[in-house]
Symmetry: C2
Subunit: 146 residues, 2 copies
DNA sequence: TTAATTTTGGACAAAAGAGTCTGATTAACG
DNA sequence: CGTTAATCAGACTCTTTTGTCCAAAATTAA
C-alpha cells in the first residue's frame, strides 16, 4: 500500500509538479512524463485526462500536443490535486476506523490525530506547484530519475 | 481507502483495545468483539489468529474460549499492532511516492513529511493499550456502538 | 461419552485498485 | 491530402484487499 495517497494520486502529484517545471503554456506529452518519472503510460494517461476534466490541466491532441497546467502554477496547490483524485475524506475520518468517532465521542488518539491531520492539510495547502518547481530546479532537488 | 492503515489493521487496533478493557487473562470471543464493534466476523477471526501467531494475543478453543492479550496491557502499544498487521513501511516511504526520495534527494515536502511522520510514530508508540483502556472507561470515551 | 461452543485452516467469492490494450479522434506538417 | 503523433474512450486483465463459507480440532459441561 502507499503511505497516505493512492498510487494514482501519487502519480498525479508527481506529474503535475513535473508539468510545473515547464514554461507556461508549453505542452508536454504523456510519453515524456512517464519516461522521466518511470510510471506506467496508459495509467497516467487516464489520470491526466481526469485532471483535465476536473479543470486542473488543459490538453491538446495531435503532434505537438500534450498537457499543461490550466492556470498559473502559483494557483495550484498539492491539495487541489489530492482533492481531484483521492478526495478529501482523510480530513474528517477517524484514523482508527471508528465510524462514529467525533469530538463528543473520541477514539484514543482523536485529538492527537486531529493535530497531525491539520499539519498534513497545511503541508498540502501551503505548497503551490510554482514553489515546488522553483525548489526542484535547485541542484539538490532531483527526485526524478533523469 | 482508509486513512493511514488498512481496514484489517483498523479492525485489529479496535479489537485489541477492546480486549484491553477486560481484566487480565479473561477470554473474549470473536463473536462478542465483532458484535460490539460491528465488524465482519470471519475477517476479524483471521486477524486475531494472525495476532496470536505474532505473539500479541493468546487464544483458547472451546466453550469459554476466546482471545486475550498475551502480556500486560501497558506493554502493548498501538505501534506493535500496526507493525504486526501493516508493517512499518510508512516510517520511511516518500509521501509523494518518489522511489528515490531521500535527504540527499528530497521531494517537495520531504522535511515537512518527516516531521509529520515522527508525530504519527510518537502517537502510536506513546499510547499503550492500558492507557487507552483507562481512557475508554471514562464516560466521554465511548466509540463502540453499545 | 455426547453435545455445544469455540478457535483453526483452507478454499473460495466479491470488490477495489492498478495496469494494459485497441481503436477512434484530433491536429500539425510535409 | 495523407502521414504522423498525440489525446480520448472504453473494455479488458491482473493483483491485492476484503469478506464469506465450511469442516476439523479442541475444550467445556452435562
Amino acid at each position: 500500500m502507499s503511505v497516505l495517497f493512492s498510487r494514482q494520486c501519487e502519480y498525479a502529484l508527481q506529474a503535475v509538479t513535473y508539468l510545473a517545471l515547464k514554461k507556461e503554456g508549453e505542452m508536454t506529452s504523456i510519453k515524456e512524463v512517464t519516461r522521466k518519472l518511470g510510471i506506467p503510460y496508459h495509467f497516467l494517461a487516464k489520470t491526466l485526462q481526469s485532471l483535465t476534466r476536473k479543470g486542473l490541466l488543459v490538453s491538446l491532441k495531435g503532434p505537438a500536443g500534450g498537457f499543461a497546467l490550466s492556470m498559473p502554477a502559483k494557483d495550484i496547490t498539492l491539495f487541489h490535486i489530492v482533492e481531484a483524485i483521492d478526495g478529501v475524506d482523510f480530513t474528517n475520518q477517524c484514523v482508527l476506523g471508528f465510524p462514529d468517532c467525533s469530538g463528543k465521542n473520541p477514539c484514543a488518539v482523536h485529538e492527537k490525530w486531529a493535530s497531525v491531520r491539520d499539519e498534513i492539510y497545511a503541508m498540502l495547502v501551503n505548497k503551490n506547484v510554482s514553489q515546488i518547481a522553483r525548489d526542484m530546479r535547485k541542484p539538490e532537488y532531483r527526485s526524478s530519475s533523469e
